[in-house]
């Protein structure tokens, strides 16, 4: 069993609020410099840049296919999927409930760059990724599960867009597999313990929107090797695998 470090919530320039410099090669380079073995690409309501980051990473870094769904209640739900195809299929379902951007959108919310592995723009996303979907929290978690994914309640320590901040309580019935805390909650602290009370593993993720954020929070994953299947087993605490410190 090995311990590896993972930052399981990183945005690319596809997210309108993320820096345009968040291209596949830049993200991969930053993750390697930070000593990460695994990252997850989680753009808002889309997985269109996942495959490009995976291609840019090659064998140097494990890049999980993710997506950060904005629910109807404006809660953020991170889905981590077995592969890019599953994430893209989930993304297509999510995208079906988003409207098309209009003239002012890019000015006020930002540009949505679809990139190739070299970081070159191949197009712009024309759905409003910055807005809420029509899926409620339960439906978003169910959608992630239906596509074989792991559902994570994103940055639950934050007042904006976390499930607790938006709903006022943790929705135990939704069926989350893990909770995520932001870089403001350090591992091993009493504050972290507050978020362990739901009986779910606690992930530490950067929610990076800028290059300098990559790896600013990280989860220690004890497993055979970095990868989606091993992460799922670690989240479940299977045969000595685990997330976080003992």
């Amino acid at each position: 069993m090995n311990v590896c470090f993972a930052d399981l919530h990183v945005h690319t320039a596809l997210s309108p609020c993320a820096d345009a410099a968040m291209t596949p090669p830049v993200i991969v380079g930053a993750a390697l410099i930070e000593g990460l073995a695994m990252i997850a690409v989680c753009d808002h309501n889309s997985a269109r840049n996942v495959a490009a980051v995976q291609e840019a990473a090659g064998d140097h870094l494990v890049v999980l296919a993710g997506m950060e769904i904005t629910t109807a209640e404006e809660c953020h739900v991170v889905g981590l999927f077995p592969d890019a195809a599953a994430a893209e299929a989930a993304g297509a379902e999510v995208g079906a409930s988003l409207g098309a951007i209009d003239d002012g959108y890019e000015t006020f919310f930002g540009e949505q760059h679809v990139l190739d592995a070299a970081g070159l723009e191949t197009g712009r996303e024309t759905l409003e990724l910055a807005t809420a979907t029509t899926l409620d929290v339960n439906a978003a978690v169910a959608l992630v599960h239906r596509h074989g994914g792991v559902a994570v309640a994103a940055h639950i320590d934050r007042p904006s867009f976390g499930v607790i901040g938006q709903l006022g309580f943790f929705p135990a019935e939704a069926g989350f597999d893990a909770v995520e805390v932001s870089r403001h909650v350090a591992p091993g602290t009493a504050q972290e313990a507050e978020f362990a009370v739901y009986g779910l593993p606690v992930l530490h993720s950067s929610d990076a929107h800028y290059v300098s954020d990559v790896g600013a929070a990280r989860t220690a994953v004890t497993c055979e090797r970095p990868g989606f299947d091993e992460l799922v087993l670690a989240v479940r605490g299977h045969e000595g695998r685990r997330v976080g410190d003992a």
Binding site: C17, A72, E73, E74, G104, Y105, F108, F109, A130, T131, A132, P159, S160, F161
Partner: protein, 117 residues
Amino acid sequence: MKLDDIARELGFTELTPEVPGARDTDIDRGYASDLLSDVLAHAPEGGLLVTLQVHLNVIAVASHAELAAVVFAGNRKPEDDVLAKAAAEGLALYSSPADTFDIAGRLYALGVKGTHA
């Protein structure tokens, strides 16, 4: 009623004094919501928004919906980067110790109506 007069009458704290001309804006419509998607879809152009949300996206949403001002209820105040973004967009921000219900009621009494009035 002019924004400046509303702010004075209701004791709002001005958070963006550098927004030129905003105080002379006439306000006759208001909206209260904490769901940004709802604000985007339904808030009246040129109106005033009362909300608890202080996230940066409030500014993007309010600008896109062409609102004139945002009042943060319950003494909430956004971070400096949010204030700077609002100033750049020409959006006036205020804070009030009152809750959303009280602010909306007092605005109504001053003649600021909802979208269905």
